[in-house]
């Protein structure tokens, strides 16, 4: 028996955790979705589920060499959030965000070959599951198993994008469990203090392996964690794909406008165990039923029907398209070879040229002397409020004079460049 302790989390855990915004500023509602957008969202959710159902079959046939992690019931979060990104934007999924990968443009075959450890997979068999990425085209950063690590990494992506003038947004996901890692807190704080264009989707699926949220965090709303870092946050019903999309879109827009990071808590439910081996017997009676009745795909179907956005023909066309995709890609994956053993020895170091050169979308003169030169002093606007200083006309330049070869930069920045820096650093704070 535990002693009576008010700090002890509720047990059994609450059956559901409602998605009320609980005192947060209302997310500015985006304009209503078009029919195409609704159908797109449905398509990707259905594709997400179909891909995972196919993988469950592969798993039972022993064709998946490692673990298989299901996102059943969470498709609306993966799909709705990633759908708010543009092609130029960057994302880093977690293991269950198969839907996000599909939305960003990853074909199902890559997901199949990854799980089946084939040579044709994006990592050529060096890593499995959703542990792959694409720097060049899709702008996807590969996750690792250590939770929270992606948050500082994507903060860096966001900062680099801003530095290069690219106007990109970086998005990544974390679970209720992962929100207790040190990397989560360090990363979110750095994103906040840097006002990095980062959207962090906190996917609260009620369970971290076998541990319920109430045993991990003594908060009703995990979004409250954002408040401590001065980060804008929102809570959304993670099983309502249109609501997820609208919330994510508002967050992405806010980031792109330079207003700093946003954390979205999406309340949902992991409808399977941690992985295929786990029957999830620890989930209390009734919890699956509660959430099954709120299945995101069924809800979307009802919505489409009620609003006359589709008919039986459209639905069967969508499913025929999905079936065709899955069939072709499964066939491709099953016919793909395993990697040659000698591949194990290759690629620890990058021997060739970089696969990505910086893409400048602002004048380089802004970040090279004298354009970028500033006075090395903190600016005090009022006592207790200190910010980065800025270039001041006539301020002494760096004392550093390298060698005779490179004289100190001339102290006459082109008219306007000082102003620009001032405006920039003002805009950033």
């Amino acid at each position: 028996m535990f002693p009576k302790n008010t700090l002890r989390p509720a047990w059994p855990p609450p059956m559901h955790n409602t998605a009320k915004n609980n005192g947060r500023a209302k997310v500015t509602a985006s304009p209503a979705l078009t029919r195409e957008q609704h159908l797109d969202l449905y398509f990707f959710m259905a594709l997400n589920r179909a891909v995972e159902e196919a993988m469950v079959r592969l798993f039972r046939q022993n064709k998946i060499v490692g673990g298989l992690y299901s996102s059943l019931g969470q498709e609306a979060v993966s799909v709705g959030t990633a759908y708010a990104l543009e092609k130029r934007d960057w994302m880093a999924p977690m293991i269950r965000n198969i839907g996000s990968l599909l939305v960003k443009g990853v074909p199902p075959r890559d997901i199949f070959t990854q799980h089946m450890a084939r040579y044709t997979s994006p990592t050529k068999g060096k890593d499995g599951t959703s542990h792959f990425g694409d720097l060049k085209n899709l702008h996807i950063v590969s996750p690792i198993s250590m939770l929270g690590d992606l948050i500082p990494v994507m903060t860096g992506v966001a900062m680099a994008g801003r530095y290069l003038g690219q106007k990109i947004v970086a998005m990544t996901w974390i679970g209720d469990g992962g929100s207790s890692t040190g990397a989560f807190h360090e990363g979110l704080n750095l994103a906040a203090v840097q006002r990095a264009p980062l959207v962090l989707v906190l996917e609260n699926n009620q369970w971290a392996y076998s541990t319920p949220v109430s045993r991990q965090v003594p908060l009703r709303d995990l979004a409250d964690r954002a408040r401590a870092y001065g980060v804008h946050s929102a809570i959304v019903d993670g099983n309502d794909v249109a609501a997820v999309y609208q919330t994510a879109k508002a967050a992405v827009d806010r980031c792109r406008a330079g207003q700093g990071p946003v954390l979205i808590e999406a309340k949902t439910m992991r409808m399977r165990g941690h992985a295929q081996h786990d029957p999830a017997e620890y989930v209390p009676q009734g919890m699956f039923e509660y959430w099954k009745a709120r299945d995101p795909i069924e809800r979307c179907e009802k919505f489409l029907t009620a609003n006359k956005l589709w008919d039986a023909k459209t639905k069967s066309e969508i499913h025929a398209r999905i079936d065709g995709l899955i069939k072709a890609d499964l066939e491709f994956a099953e016919n793909s070879p395993l990697p040659p053993p000698e591949l194990a020895e290759q690629g620890v170091y990058c021997e060739g040229p970089l696969c990505l050169e910086p893409r400048w979308e602002r004048p380089i003169a802004e970040v090279t002397p004298p354009g970028c030169s500033v006075q090395a002093a903190w600016k005090v606007s009022d006592p207790g409020s200190i910010e980065a200083g800025q270039a001041m006309p006539g301020a002494p330049l760096a004392k550093f004079t390298r060698m005779e070869k490179t004289p100190a930069a001339p102290r006459s920045p082109a008219k306007g460049s000082t102003k620009k820096i001032a405006a920039r650093s003002k805009g950033r704070r």
């Binding site: 990592t123 990397a183 970040v367 030169s373 090395a376 820096i421």
Partner: protein, 324 residues
């Protein structure tokens, strides 16, 4: 050319690389207005501005993570860890995220982690460490540990231009104690090349960083007794220049390895294994090592002195080895 300190040589490399390439940025704790705990980044902010010289919260994991993310967009971040001892705080980010990135999914991470390291400055258990072997045991990272201003500058430039994550150890003891005149022109010292600092035929002494200097002093002492030691300065631990070590041993047939790192699991053991594999029949004496004790780095001067390999320890060990 005016001789410059070890610290100034690194500072020059940063200035010149940032001048050369706008993709190079610096990120770390207290590096902007303050110029870094050791003033290695002093003056960078004035010249390159707030966007390229970034102060961070005290969050080593976030710093390494952010630098990694920046490198994915083609930037070349140079991280300053205030002391290398704090690298333990970002161990996961470095060993799991950064080091495995290129192997796992073909995403190179061109970043440099600068880390003031080493003892002899009475920093105590948390400001004197030599944790290089944790990372030598991590495929995917390169490790540089220079001993002279010339090398520090040239290796820093090579590290910044390298497409892989490079841990750049800067021995604090050397920062302001040695000076050297540097060439006016741009130069790099390629990673992975050891340097024979002194030629000799009786035995080989392999070392790096501050201990390379102590080893050279020992060689001078030994010369008075008629023992000619060849002294190799590794300069880069990964990639390790095995060829230079093996060739020297083939000539002298005896090897003494000196490092400031603790004994068990130190690089001496690895070099011994390499020699067993590649030069076994050339060895005329036991592979010998002079290292720090297997303890944390103690604070009080007599304790730290006992902990660190001393000149006399090297001379004694070399003398014993030469008798074989």
């Amino acid at each position: 050319m005016e001789p410059v300190t070890f610290l100034e040589a690194i500072r020059q490399a940063l200035f010149e690389e940032m001048d050369r390439d706008p993709a190079v940025i610096c990120i770390g704790e207290d590096i902007s207005v303050y110029g870094g705990a050791f003033k290695v980044t002093a003056g960078l902010l004035e010249r390159f501005g707030w966007e390229r010289v970034i102060d961070t919260p005290i969050s080593e994991t976030a710093i390494i993570g952010a630098a990694c993310g920046m490198s994915y967009l083609g930037l070349r971040p140079v991280v300053e860890l205030q002391f290398v001892d704090f690298i333990a705080c970002c161990f996961n980010q470095l060993t799991n995220f950064v080091a495995k990135s290129n192997y796992r999914w073909g995403a190179p991470v061109p970043m440099v982690v600068r880390a003031p390291s080493g003892g002899g400055v009475h920093g105590g258990p948390f400001h004197s460490g030599n944790p290089e072997m944790y990372f030598m045991h991590t495929p995917g990272l390169k490790i540089v540990y220079p001993s002279t201003p010339y090398d520090a500058k040239g290796l820093m430039k090579a590290a910044i231009r390298d497409n892989n994550p490079v841990l750049f150890f800067e021995h604090k003891f050397l920062y302001r104690r040695i000076k050297e005149a540097l060439p006016a022109e741009d130069y790099v010292v390629p990673l992975g090349q050891a340097m024979v600092r002194r030629k000799g035929s009786d035995l080989t002494i392999v070392s790096y960083a501050a201990m390379a200097h102590t080893s050279l002093e020992a060689a001078a002492e030994l010369a008075k007794e008629g023992i000619e030691a060849e002294v190799i300065d590794l300069r880069t631990l990964v990639p390790l220049d095995q060829e230079t070590i093996v060739n020297s041993v083939k000539k002298t047939n005896k090897i003494l390895i000196v490092h400031e790192d603790t004994r068990t699991g130190g690089i001496a053991g690895e070099i011994a294994a390499i020699l067993n594999e590649q030069a076994f029949e050339h060895l005329d004496g036991p592979i010998t090592r002079v290292t720090a004790l297997d303890t944390p780095v103690p604070y009080s001067p007599p304790l730290e002195e006992r902990f660190l390999p001393q000149l006399a320890d090297i001379v004694r060990a070399a003398r014993d080895l030469a008798r074989f």
